[in-house]
Symmetry: C2
Subunit: 423 residues, 2 copies
């Protein structure tokens, strides 16, 4: 446990090397799967002009900003999410790329919220978006990417579900039930909170529209066949990919933010014990809004946070086993051990030769007893200890896992280690 | 060129995928060399309590902060550098790691400065530090790491030099020339600006100490033999590593910040046309200061920024060639081309099989002409196009570089592509 006297700010995290290794495992998995899907990586500035977020938002976001006036009197915000920057950057660079753009990003976001399990003030999001493509093929491609990230972490359809919904179904429902167009947002907000509000609170809100909660519940539980041709199209695509088992139509989902325009989805653990693992949807008008109408591109995307995933991995034995195999201390391939102080120059030359060949090498930085040197080699997770003594250039190679030792020399060492160096 | 209407804040950068690829090359090179040296990665929060920086600083830093009061009335700062967080985190976690700690970090820092060539308001630093080891072996290990990063980028001793200095030499000089102890900082500040101040300005400052600029210049140009045993020790270590050609003793260097305690160094391009490429040194008292005396660890470290390196690579043909070989668009191994619309489910199944095998695959998300599909395959840098037509499961494999085509099937494709997928 870290010393409690030296903590970061509330809701922020330190990543000492052990914590960093888990982070690198999450990032590496996201990156690997995104690359398999032909997505390319981008990054946004950490600070943006606040107006960029105000243009876009909706929901609680504007109240959760780390927002301030900088030394040049600019109203700036430490980014709470990436979609606003994506819209701006895609508008600026879209002429240089062939459409559709398949872009992903992995980076920190900042929200002033009350920290709790799975919710932090600085957290990392994996964002994947497809811009310049309006068809359901791109919604399916994104949902498949999200599912394959989960599979790569070791989760199966027993562990999570993708709840897919279609805002158009609710817009049509609203229109058919006499909701005035300017009140549509309020109506969607009721659906958004349908599961979380106490029934009487929900009914009270619905009274304004002359609706009964029970009728809505029945509609959600048994949506009319064919109510969402979009969902049917996505399901067909996912079936062909062998991924149909992971999704269901779930009209409880509408997503809080105002800018979503069609299919939306959220991923939850099957026990629904945690916050959403990921969420996203189509936001066709947003790039035009962010570029003041100059660039209009249909778009769809999702974000997956690091905190909820980390908890879920901990709770799932198969995912935990994969993680533990990946997140192990292995600071180096070879730890050099100096058995004769006068051989230090030779040891340093050997270190340089090995490192130039790509081998990861640690060495004693000051005189130390052999026992202590060997102890360090084990603690930092070295694969081998190589003992440099007065018999140099003869060396002793010690496998720290099997404890076997044998004589070798520089040539032999390089031959032995090159496969490791390549890995 | 990006559309100028959609810019980030002054001094901040957008990384569209092409710009990101360069960034990934820099980060990947730093990471690779740091791993070879047995360093492990860590990361700090992006925001810290402002007092952490005020405790530590000196120099201009306190005037350059992105500092504000958050919604919880905390005085917070978007991190201007990493050493303060490192000291705090090392103090918190040091009991869990075997000493010395060899830690590196790659991340954004933020300073409110006037943007110019090689200087930005959000920039990335590669930080490498060794904590818990006081000997010159650790200074040499860090300088060797910095040199090997430069070599890995393709630079030689014709391109850059590591200017190593020793604050102790100046402290002794000051004591021997009657500088009162409380004025030592002022004296070091004069040396720090020696090269940049006009001679008469420098002399005016030196008048306060009754010193002649010419005497100091002579001392710097011909430092007395043996004036820095520390430098001699580091030079011996670097000689044994074959890296002596990259360094020189250079007493012009003292580093601005107050907390350095011994050897300090800066890396410059040989033409000295740019700001420092890297800088660092020993800061033995800082961890104790940051932990209010609770944890005392000797420490040495350096930081290398991304902006100056990027300019220097551009100016050096060998480095540029390495960069251009690494930074190429290659969004995928295979771009699937659908020649018969009714084969879409088969194409999607094929995509899933290939992706599950680790192959990077792009595919048409909506109906498109074959010519346009092939054009996209080339533009995104795919290695192969695989044409899925009515002869499925027979496929056509087209090498987009050689333009050769041949018939294959799924088995053949997987065999063909698996080596690529492993890479």
């Amino acid at each position: 446990m870290p010393d409690a006297r030296f903590q970061p700010l509330t809701g922020f995290r330190d990543f000492a090397p052990q914590e960093f290794a888990l982070r690198a495992y999450l990032f590496g998995t996201w990156r690997k799967v995104a690359h398999r899907y032909g997505f390319v990586e981008w990054e946004a500035p950490t600070l943006e002009a606040t107006e960029l977020y105000l243009k876009k938002s909706g929901g609680e976001l504007p109240t959760q900003l780390f927002r301030f006036v900088d030394q040049g009197e600019r109203d700036v915000t430490v980014r709470p999410e990436l979609t606003a920057s994506l819209g701006r950057i895609a508008a600026a660079y879209q002429r240089e790329y062939t459409k559709p753009l398949k872009w992903f990003e992995i980076g920190s976001c900042f929200r002033y919220e009350k920290p709790q399990k799975g919710r932090l003030r600085e957290f990392v999001q994996f964002n994947a978006d497809i811009l310049g493509e309006a068809g359901e093929g791109s919604d399916a491609e994104l949902i498949a990417l999200a599912i394959d990230c989960m599979r790569e972490f070791g989760f199966t359809s027993d562990d999570f579900v993708v709840r897919v919904s279609d805002r158009e179904v609710w817009l049509r429902y609203a229109a058919e039930h006499g909701v005035p167009e300017e009140k549509t947002g309020d109506f969607l907000a009721i659906i958004d909170k349908f599961e979380r509000d106490r029934p009487e609170v929900c009914q009270e809100k619905l009274d304004a529209f002359g609706m009964k909660r029970a009728d809505l519940e029945a509609f959600i539980q048994n949506p009319p066949a064919g109510c969402s041709p979009r969902y049917e199209a996505v399901l067909e695509e996912l079936k062909a990919r062998g991924l149909a088992d992971y999704v269901k139509l779930d009209l409880y989902v509408v997503r809080g933010l105002a800018y979503y325009t069609g299919l939306v989805f959220e991923i939850f653990d099957k026990g629904h014990s945690l916050r959403a693992i990921a969420g996203g949807g189509r936001y066709n008008g947003l790039v035009a809004t962010l570029s003041n109408g100059a660039v209009d591109m249909p778009a769809t995307g999702f974000a997956m946070g690091d905190a909820v995933i980390a908890h879920l991995i901990e709770a799932c034995p198969a995912a935990r086993a994969l993680r533990d195999a990946a997140v192990k201390p292995d600071a180096c391939d070879v730890c050099l051990v100096l058995a004769a102080a006068e051989m230090r120059p030779q040891m340093l030359a050997l270190a340089s030769s090995l490192r130039d060949a790509g081998v990861r090498v640690d060495l004693p930085l000051s005189p130390a007893k052999m026992g202590n040197q060997l102890k360090r080699a084990e603690k930092i997770g070295a694969t081998y200890a190589v003992i440099v003594g007065s018999e140099y250039p003869d060396l002793e190679l010690k496998n720290l896992a099997t404890r076997e030792s044998r004589k070798t020399d520089i040539e032999g060492l390089l031959t032995e280690l090159m496969p490791e160096a390549q890995a």
